[in-house]
Amino acid sequence: GAGVSQTPSNKVTEKGKYVELRCDPISGHTALYWYRQSLGQGPEFLIYFQGTGAADDSGLPNDRFFAVRPEGSVSTLKIQRTERGDSAVYLCASSEQGYNEQFFGPGTRLTVL
């Protein structure tokens, strides 16, 4: 069956620009997560959605980062005024319920020049 998909797979942008990263979770999964993985490190939690609402956004680094999931399925991570330090792989994951294993997408590699 179809897994979690993320688009684009790669995104190169210039410092100060706005970017949107998209995540399509596994059909029927109510929980959706965003993580950020910097080179040589493990993924770091950004935000968690249960349905349409952000249940936990404690991992967002600052107010330049925002995410939405308006219909409880597809989610978009939005980054304003990008900085070079935002360069990383952004991973999306979904799960049936909170305590079950999370299934990850292939990630979007963001490069800020």
């Binding site: 493990g42 939690f45 968690y48 909170g98």
Partner: protein, 115 residues
């Protein structure tokens, strides 16, 4: 705060030999523990989890892990390594005493299996 430590950046093992990838954790409440594997240019793939019950859990591709509460460890093991097991392995924990379902990951361990 919850945390995960993977003390080895890299583990080298010969094909056919047993392998162990170490993981220790720190949480306030009871842990849910996970192992994921990451192949180059691919997302993380779930291997196995410990939620409750038997301390020895079996997962995909012949991997298993043992939960040890007293040592706060959850080491990944396989009796006989394959060259195709070479990849990056991540241990993760969810602290059930916290609201939300975030996973905290370790820094990863690169497993190199040589023919």
């Amino acid at each position: 705060a919850q945390s995960v430590a993977q003390p080895e950046d890299q583990v080298n093992v010969a094909e056919g030999n047993p392998l162990t990838v170490k993981c220790t954790y720190s949480v306030s409440g009871n842990p849910y523990l996970f192992w994921y594997v990451q192949y180059p240019n691919r997302g993380l793939q779930f291997l196995l989890k410990y939620i409750t019950g038997d301390n020895l859990v079996k997962g995909s591709y012949g991997f298993e892990a043992e939960f040890n509460k007293s040592q706060t460890s959850f080491h990944l093991k396989k009796p006989s390594a394959l060259v195709s097991d070479s990849a990056l392995y991540f241990c993760a924990v969810r602290d059930t005493s916290r609201a939300g379902n975030m996973l905290t990951f370790g820094g990863g361990t690169r497993l190199m299996v040589k023919p």
